[in-house]
Amino acid sequence: MTDLTETPASRTDTEVIVSVRNLKKHFPIMGGLFRRQVSAVRAVDGVSFDIHRGETLGLVGESGCGKSTTGRVLLQLDDATSGSVFFEDQDLTTLSTGAMRRVRPRAQMIFQDPHASLNPRMTVASIIGEPLREHTKMGPVERRDRIDELLSIVGLDPSHANRYPHEFSGGQRQRIGIARAIALNPDFIVCDEPIAALDVSIQAQVVNLLEELQESLGLTYLFISHDLSMVRHIADRVAVMYLGHIVELTDVESLYDNPKHPYTEALLSAVPVPDPRAEDIRKRVILEGDLPSPSNPPPGCVFNTRCPIAEQRCSSEVPEWREIRPAHWVACHFAE
């Protein structure tokens, strides 16, 4: 087990289900005459956090900051470059293929694009039945019953089980993906932008379904999204990522009402609010410039090139990941 004295959860009595320590994922960039590795995309560059049983941890940040990669490495869909991912008391990064296969049913993923993540040539019944065939000893009849049950749970008509994905709308396809993810009674689900591809009027349907399932099945979620308003709605705690690093992590109220990292503050202030009166009086921190390249991150604090309060030391000294108040973690020299 990890050393709990230095974990974000140390001062709460909630049970930790997933514990990530100094996790890195670098993708090699090949080049030159012999196609050797010339550098690397530092997609995830040393992140540490815990996920508590039964909670929803939101993971937010702009495109390319490493959210999906974090989720994929957590579930070992990609290998970690270094660091560890504890699921209960097992470090998944050290497990054999066979041992990982036994963990797999308990930790699942829901993908962003319901069009791309479902095999167009398989019926809905075979898509949802696949994990049941692979990981359980259910016979055909029992499996069929379970598929019907799963379809009703996610609000689809069991009589449509023999249809193909293209016969469903985007929101319905996302429900199929959810049914597949919960088929094996998992404890933990990584939801990677589960509503990003859906129409606004359909997003609420899917989010409400995810919340109901969490309640009835006792699920734990890592909810990856760039929609900060939706994350405020669904998450208990939120981690903010920038260029492969988590820069702030705390409960929803503290993060949104009292952000301590200048990036979190700028990000929140940039999100438009659907209310003209509120928009008129809001103060904006407009960040200058663009996101630096993750293959050549700035030295010191990764945010220093765009930070409105950066000082000399920010471009040389890496800020420590500090717990400035109980359960409020920030990586900024000036946060207090």
Partner: protein, 333 residues
Amino acid sequence: MSASNPQTVLEVSGLKTHFHTQDGTVHAVNGVSFDLHQGELLAVVGESGSGKSVTMMSLLRLIPMPPGEIVGGTAEFADEDLLQLPPEELRKVRGGQIGFIFQDPMTSLNPVLTIGRQITEPLLLHTDLDKNGAKERATELLDMVGIPDAKARLKAYPHELSGGMRQRVMIAIALACSPEIIIADEPTTALDVTIQAQIVGIVKDLRERLDTAVIWITHDLGVVAGLADRVLVMYGGRIVEEAPVRDLYATPLHPYTQGLLASLPRLDQKGQELVSIPGQPPSMYAEPSACSFAPRCPHAFDRCFSEVPDLVEVRPGHRSACFWDVENERPRA
């Protein structure tokens, strides 16, 4: 308001566009009418497939024909009907008096031409500027949309710029000939919020300085709240509500708009339950013969399933296409 009123720069009436496909006729735009006033920012919202892009692209005949066909309507601009203009005349309007910004700058910027070439081209085509004059103006434009080191950037190719910078180049191109109208189709959807905030800031600022009318298509009701003067809400190829921005958010009149606003979580408020709109968007294959929202509408009654509601003015400047009187909770007279 009529086209003779000096304030109205564009008057669209009864626009209908179809696509003839293998699966049948897509009724993409089903009788859309609206005015655009000088210097205003008119936002167009609605779900995917509701006809936002096809409406605006039809005005400049930018839809592929076939399969597309503009079946009816008029679009009065500068005392002429855009839909009847001969091709050469229309080319002068496009990129000259009316600028268009597309959602994905990568598909509308030419990857093998420098940024400078792409900005100077419309200038050489539509203005009297010579090559040097055009270059100077191009530098000015890039500067205006906040691209640092503008002069050097003229030599850059699109792939050498970030997404946000490419979108700014698109704005610069649209602005090149000082158009009277800019039509922007989801110009910030593909961008991150911090970059989106930069672009929105630039457009607000430019509009104040140049008094250009802007049509801004988006699905983001947050962006609309901070940017628009007036809003058109589209559903099923029709405008179902039209209102000044504050009225729309304070007292939405159409059940679809009400549902849409209720289904949005808010950054500045926590924890209410999200009210979702049940059901799915309508199929576009049939000519509408009822309210397209009726199958999803909490107020629908007999009439909604047998007649298409007209867009009628309920309050000054605030129109809704609905048979239900939401304020008095009874069928409309």
